[in-house]
Symmetry: none
Subunit: 220 residues, 4 copies
DNA sequence: TATGAATGAGCCTTCATTCAT
DNA sequence: CATGAATGAAGGCTCATTCAT
């Protein structure tokens, strides 16, 4: 008990260093691309020297994997945490969760991360890519799907809608739009501003999910 | 007769070389990524030696640019050609065009091409990327948008829908789903099969666009 | 006799081609340097294609050798021809021949030729270089030396002067000065203009060669 | 004790590397020519591997420039240092300084250095070449010129001699002769041995500079 | 343990040379 | 015989990785 508290400085350091490296690596890789990025840039960004990387990671690929793993874990944890807090009807929940996603997707680092994942990791680290999709994306789909299902159960949404397909389609629509925004900026001719994209997407979704003839209300 | 069958060390095919190289380059670049691809692989794929590339292209970057340009031109030409042939109401047109897009997007080379574009070209050749988006993607959006507008004019679609926003959202939804399919395959747990994705996406779109109280039917 | 006159065109061409190539090669090599020059440049300058060079020359080195050999032969022939035409005393002859040399050395192609010889040929083709020196330079020295000796015999130059050493030194002085002029131009600060260099060089030479106590004048 | 004598794969000599590389580069470049020299040869000569060069120099050209700059600086510094130590009349000074120059010029590395400068640098690095000429050659000319002028002021040399022109001519004569010696060796037929060249050159110079009628002595 | 000098495999590019046409 | 497309060895440069300090 006593001995445990007496952690030498360098040991703590050794624990912390990988964190800084992981962060730096992710930042550099997402900005410059995995292959294009030099390990020296990562070291510099982390404030350590090139050689130090090899104390904590086997090689460049290992650094990539661990950095992504780390990020994926964090992202998923965050998402999970924020999930069940919402109260309200299915449409309220849906708006809340999609709005949240859209806002996050508008941040620059989100776009860079996705570019890395879809561009290089998808082909060079397929297992990792799939892991990320399954732990992150698929889970998000599921979430939306569940909300839709709940809505159907409530009678707020029409029962013949394919909850799963629609959830996936809708989230993909937002994801890809966000992705394009990063590369094109707002100005591109013929490109909707973010707010309108979200508004019309959500409008389509809600309208498309509404019961055709709102049973109860029709009679009254 | 027997002796005549001598095999030349190489053949003189100045006319076909550039095209073959362009094709080989695109194939190799989309499969391996631009940076990761060695020029020697391209040469090999085209059945020539490394040096030959430099007779027709200035350098690796030039080869990339021209290969993409070429592809983009071809794609756009194809799309343009097939556009106006469709007859029928807005909903028929919409189904036809989206179905076409979806089928194309299910082909493996489409996915690889997109991965290259969104992964490396977007960051390393931004001008080329934007050109592609503007000539290809934005034009496709426009097409969908116009069909929706026509449907609104006909009374087939509700007038308060944001044609532009919905068009972009919908096409992005399909694009991104197709993209994921390439990497995940059909089997992934929790992943809808292609047909269902398309069906439910189209269903959402049509349902979401329908007039709230279909004028004629209301009276009956 | 009849048959000989009927020389087909291509046969004449074949004879002429090497001449044009030789000239082009020398021009290109002297301008760009032997190693830096591409054979394609030579071909282009000669108005033929790359492959044609190999019909007449074994390889790049052979082309260089033959082009130089050719040039050396021509230069020497020219020099020899113009040598014995001069009449007059030793000092007149000396002025004539050095003036001639200086004027030639001021022409740009002379400088380029020397740069090639002293820069690359001297180390890469030592035998050829030596041949050139012996056939050209040494012969020129000899010529000056002989004129000085003649002057000594006439009593115009002092007898204790080392005719050979002085001849070589003097010609080298002019050669090197000409060489520098090519690279520095006239403007360089602290650099004498060509005319003054020649005038003062010749002045030094003549003055330095004059008998210490000019016989006739001694008596006065 | 025995086990300790382990030979490391390489040694860490950050301080000495640049200097050693500079030296090796100059040696290799002057021997093989700049373009002909492979960077690997330079590395080998310096006892390091190819890649190490790039830690200290940007590229081949940078290495060349810095090696030359370095050499020029050293040469000029040496020359400057040894200048003003000489005492005596103008003729003594002149002999001293020319003798010194001649001896230096007889050393093999001097010749190789000049071949590089005049052969390749003059055309490929004109600015550097001009810098060298101005800092080195022109300054040396000036020195000789000043000595001649001093001699003229003292009455040791005739006043109507063109000090500048003669200084340049004389130094060029020695320079070029030294240059030829390197390539021809002593043996060449019709080529004066070094000592005689210097002796006769100096003799011509002194004799050519002496006052025509040594004023004082004439009257007595 | 951290550093960064040193290594060397790898890849783009050039160009002398060959050879199908 | 002339052409110029094709070859492939060579060399400059980069950077992941190793290792002396």
């Amino acid at each position: 008990m006593l001995a445990k508290a007496k952690k030498p400085k360098w040991e703590r350091k050794a624990e912390e260093r990988p964190g800084a490296l992981l962060e730096a690596a992710l930042d550099v890789f997402t900005r410059q691309g995995y292959r294009a990025a030099r390990l020296e840039s990562v070291a510099e960004a982390a404030g350590v020297s090139k050689g130090t990387i090899y104390r904590y990671f086997e090689n460049k690929e290992d650094l990539l994997k661990r950095a992504l793993q780390d990020k994926v874990d964090v992202k998923i944890a965050h998402a999970e945490a924020a999930l069940q807090e919402i109260r309200g009807g299915a449409d309220v929940k849906l708006r809340y969760i999609l709005d949240r996603y859209w806002k996050r997707a508008m941040e620059p680092d989100w776009g860079r991360f996705h570019r890395l994942m879809f561009g290089e990791i998808a082909s060079e680290q397929p297992l990792l890519f799939r892991f990320w999709i399954e732990k992150g994306t698929v889970r998000a789909w599921k979430l939306i799907e569940d909300i839709i299902r709940a809505g159907q159960a409530e009678g707020a949404f029409r029962k013949d809608a394919d909850a799963q397909g629609i959830a996936q389609f809708a989230l993909s629509g937002l994801t890809h739009q966000a992705y394009l925004k990063m590369h094109l900026g707002q100005r591109g001719s013929g490109v909707c501003p973010p707010d309108r994209i979200f508004a019309s997407s959500f409008d389509l979704l809600i309208t498309g999910l509404k019961p055709k003839t709102p049973a109860g209300k029709n009679h009254d």
